[in-house]
Each structure stands twice: as structure tokens, then as C-alpha cells.
Symmetry: C2
Subunit: 344 residues, 2 copies
Amino acid sequence: MTDQPSTERRRRKGLDSPTLSDVAREAGVSSITVSRALNAPDSVRANTRKKIEAAIDKVGYVRNMVAGSLASASSRFIPVIVPSLSNVVFVEVIQGLQATFEQHGYQILLGNTDYSMKREEELIRTFLGWSPTALVTTGLRHQESLSNLLARYQRPLVEIMELGDAIDMNVGMSHYRAGHCMADHLVSRGYRRILYAGTQMEGNYRTRQRYEGHRERLLQSGLDAPLMEWRTPSHFDLGATALDAALHEYPNIEAIHFTDDVMASGALLHATKRGLKIPEDIAIAGFTGLPFGQALTPRLTTVVSPREAIGRLAATQIITRLEGQQPQQHSIDVGFELIVGESS
Amino acid sequence: MTDQPSTERRRRKGLDSPTLSDVAREAGVSSITVSRALNAPDSVRANTRKKIEAAIDKVGYVRNMVAGSLASASSRFIPVIVPSLSNVVFVEVIQGLQATFEQHGYQILLGNTDYSMKREEELIRTFLGWSPTALVTTGLRHQESLSNLLARYQRPLVEIMELGDAIDMNVGMSHYRAGHCMADHLVSRGYRRILYAGTQMEGNYRTRQRYEGHRERLLQSGLDAPLMEWRTPSHFDLGATALDAALHEYPNIEAIHFTDDVMASGALLHATKRGLKIPEDIAIAGFTGLPFGQALTPRLTTVVSPREAIGRLAATQIITRLEGQQPQQHSIDVGFELIVGESS
DNA sequence: CGATTAAATGTTAGCGCTAACATTTTGTAG
DNA sequence: CTACAAAATGTTAGCGCTAACATTTAATCG
């Protein structure tokens, strides 16, 4: 008769840690007021806010973001999908994104596709379960089912790295034009037998877009546009291997336009070691504008794009939209710059 | 009389997306069974599972991870705190962590401290609000208040990169011994006037631990252990600057032991450009074992540690514990390897 | 083949927070 | 000092899922 068994029937493990109501009780207000003090401090009187802050300290309150996200159906998470972390380019883009998002209280959920569109879709589907505030993914090409999904997505979405028909917003550059620009440089330097060489052109199709631009420019001058491709990831040693292979396959080649600075630098260093004169015996060009390419002698000719800026701009586009405004433009061309070193 | 206004009083925005119960209704089971089919497929009969899977497809169910995390008080998030993303070392460690965690369905929450212990504490406190499953942070030194917090943390915790008294578990190497090892190499090569040079030794105190080891070895042989330090982040150009400054300050110097391969490579390239012979005029050594250091001529002498393995091992330690077992050892020494190039 | 046990499924009650609406307090003008 | 609007705070009811216990169904055995 003394107990009330039915009342006590179930008990959840309930982390003993204090909750909003503990803080509220301590501060002598209701829990929604504490919630407001945390989420919109200006909507609470300074005096009340002070009491709440004291109560938070006193009880050692740690905010439960999960509960908040469930109640508000939004999580302050922003998934960022990149194809690789081995390529510095994406790391720098991420840094730009992170720096900007952090200032606004958003947290990146990093997803790595390894250049697989299937993986991209899986990752995005999983991340959607976290009620993300917005979405950032790499490239404009996706599996059809993912494109459909994204087209219906109601929150800000930025596709980065390239330019074109974006689902929502877009920050990037034209890889076609970058390839065209480098080819133009090489042709105008007087090189005629120019090889395009690199790796992973299936998965990283932007590499191939640069080749298309390159090819177009060579054809304009009535030149052939030979191509050599490797399947393994880009690496310094592969640059060396590629140079040997290229000289074997095309003994008269005058210039090699590599898909990236890593291979180009590897080739450049290897050429020097082989006693080849650069650019007299062979000219070398890269893409990306990595610091070590510019530290070499001769300096590597390359095309550089503002990688961290891509991240910052993408984040800014999203923040603008989240603040209820429309960004100036839905598509931002960050452009690129030709860096002419002594390697060409 | 037809309406029931009181029943309809409030309505939450309720994302129209289907929930577990929608799936359950469709499959003709209860929602907990659907939950089990997702979380522990083996606990549901194959037949039932099939019906549920069909229902999921039919209604287009997307799992709400937030609700699940709240109900279970655990989120499958594992925060990873690193001091920098500009240093490839940490990127590779993250790749190792991610690869392993992904296989087990855990998601990294990436935090970047910029070598600030204050920032580290802020990040961890925020991440704790996400009910993380475990925690990974860099280094053994933290703000006192954070150390106290972590000491009370009830879930797996790995401190990476260095060796010593860990709060819970530990994966790393001895930076002291690495510095000692390189100094030993240089001394045994016959160099006597050896400079230690590098950057950011306050924040990245592991750099200084290597100096301590270096210094100890030189003192053993009765040699001086001069030190030059810059405040700016490591960079190829800084390596060049450092070389000039070192030769100006210590005209007779025979060898320079740099804090990292980036500066060492920058110095090496700059020395070659200046017409200095390596290692005859000046020997150069680095730390990290980055690919481009090994692509140079002469190859850079350096110390390499298994960076991705650190990540994989740290993740494995955590997984082991989450599976209810005790890992073989709480502290794992991944060691390091001296790579002797032609630069020393 | 009924008794016993194990496996599968169901019922109920929250997890800790915030949206939506309700009420009280404060500020301001006449 | 009242009337009214605006600002601050409160009440209530979930968000969508899973822990804990309850019940049903299938499997095993003498």
C-alpha cells in the first residue's frame, strides 16, 4: 500500500547529467526561457540571462544538441562531400568551408567518396538522416537517383569545383577553359608536339574536361592532341614513370601538359636527374599551383585556382540563404590564373 | 459538433517525410520491429526483414539519426580533434581513422584547434553535446579544466601522436627519441656543428620534444646544440629563408636538422640553387618522410612515422572497446624509421 | 504431444529539447 | 493613471526513435 509500483515501472538509463529543466529550476525560470537564452540571447532580459548563466555554471550543464535538433528538425550540420583527401585541393577547400561555417556555428560532416558516385549517393542519404541545414558536394555529375533526390531537397545546396547547370547553387571554375588556357600558352610558346598526360580521368572527370579544352586549342592550330593515361592515383614517382613512358612512346615530344602538379613535379625532377634540359629538351606544365612546384628550379608552369576561396564562397552562399536573403548570383566563377614558370 | 478543435490544437511542422511507424504500418509490424531490423537485422526473422525492406523502399523512408541518438543517448559520432589541416600528417591520420570508423558505421566530427588548447577545450565541450560514442584528440597536454573533464569521461578516449601518460588510451611515437635518433645519425656521420631549426615550437610542442632529444644526443658528444626558431607556419619559402639566416648566423654550420620536411626541402632546393653542395657544404635533414622529400635529388634524410596507421590503430582501439573487449595494450608505440637519403 | 525454453515481436513510456500558442509583464502614449 | 501594444516569459505537446519490460510464437525435448 505504501508503494506505487505502476508509477515506477520503467526507468530509462537517463544520463545523470543535468538538463535544461535543472538549469531552469536553479534559475527560477521555465525551461523554454533557458532554451531562448541559449538560442536567441537577445530575446531574454539581461537580468534573466545572467541568472541563467549562473545556473548553467552551477549545475555544470552541457547542452544536448541531439535533443535540440530533434525538436527543431534541424541540426546545424552541413555535410561536405569530397572525392578525396589525398589531394590537397580538397583539403584546402574544406578549410575554407570550415573557417566560415565555424563562425556561424555550423559543423561540417565530412564525406569522402573516393571518386565513386555510388558512394556519394550513399553518403548523402546517410547524412540526410541528420537533418542537415544545408549540403555541399563536389561536381555537377551525380547518379541519376541522387540528382532526383537533390532536386527535391528543400535547403541550400552548393555544388563546388566546376561550373555549369547546378541544381541550386554553384561555386567553381571552368576546367575546360583552364585546359584550353594552358594549351594556348604552350602553343604560343612555339611547342608543336604536345602530350597531355595524367591519371584517373574516369572518376575525376574534371581532368578530362581540361583535356577537352587542351585538345580543342591544339586542333585549332592543326596539331595532334595525344593523350596518355594511368589508372593509379597521382604521385611523384608516377610523374617520373610517366615521363619515361612518354619519351618512349613519343620520342619527339616537345612538351607535356600534366593533369596535376604532383605528377608534373615528379616528371620535372626526374627529367633533371636524367640530364634533360627543361624547357629546351622538354617543357613541362601542371595544374593546381601547389607550393612545391613553385619551389623547384625551374619553377613549374601551372594553372592555379583559389581553392580556399571556393570553400569560403560556397559557405557564404549558404549562410546568405540561411539568413533569408538571396545571394547575388547562384553561380560563382572563381576563375583561375596561369602561372608561367621556367619549365615551359 | 463535427470537429474536435481541442484535439487539433497544436501542430508541429512535422517534416512530411515518412517515419518508422509509416514503415511499420506498411509492413504490418510494430515500429520497434522495424527499428530492430535496422539496428540488429539478425534479431528479426528473415521473412519479416524482407517485408520491412520492401516497405522501406515503398514509402521512401529515410532514417532519422537524430531521433535515434536521442532515444539511445548515443550518436555514432566520434569527434577527432587535430591541431591543423595544413599539415599533411594530420590529414593522413584522419584518413586512417575514417577508413576504419566507416566500416563500423561511425562518423567523424572534425575539429581543428589551430594549435590552441583553449580551442581544443571549446571544441570538445561542444562535441560532447552530440553524445559521441568515443573521442580522439591530439597530444597528451590539455588545459587543466579539459583534463579534468576528460578524466571523468566514461567512453573510449584516444590521445594520438605522442607517447606517455594517457588519460585512457594512446597511440603515437616518442618525439624525443625521434629527435635523438636523427641527431645520432648526424653525429655518427661526422658532423659536429649541427643546428636545429624550425617553426611554431610553442604550440606544436612535439617539435620541441624532438629538439630535446636532439640536444641530449649532441651534449653526449660534447657538442653545442644551437636552435633557430620562426613563428610563422612551415612553408617551402620559409625553408629557403631559414637556410640563408642560418648560414648568416652560423657561417661554419655543417648540418641543419629541420623540424619538418617542408622546410628541409625548401632549404635543400634553395641550397642547390645557391650553388651549395649537399651534403659536402651543408647537410640537411627533416622530419615526417613526405613524398616530395624523397623525390628530390639528393633525397632528403628524414624520419618517417606510419601516419595512416596511427589513425587506423587509434580507431581499432576504440572499436575493440566498443565491442566490449579490452585492447591488448592501452598505449601503442607505432615507432618511426630513419630514412637516410643523400642529403646527409 | 504437452511442457519448457528460446526466439521473435509487441506495448509503453520517455530521451531533452523546441514550436506553437497563451499569458503575464513592461513600456508608452494620451 | 488607464489603455494598449510590445516584449518577456510560461504552458503544453510533441519531434521520431529506442530501452525496458511484456507477450506471443516457434523450437526443443522427454
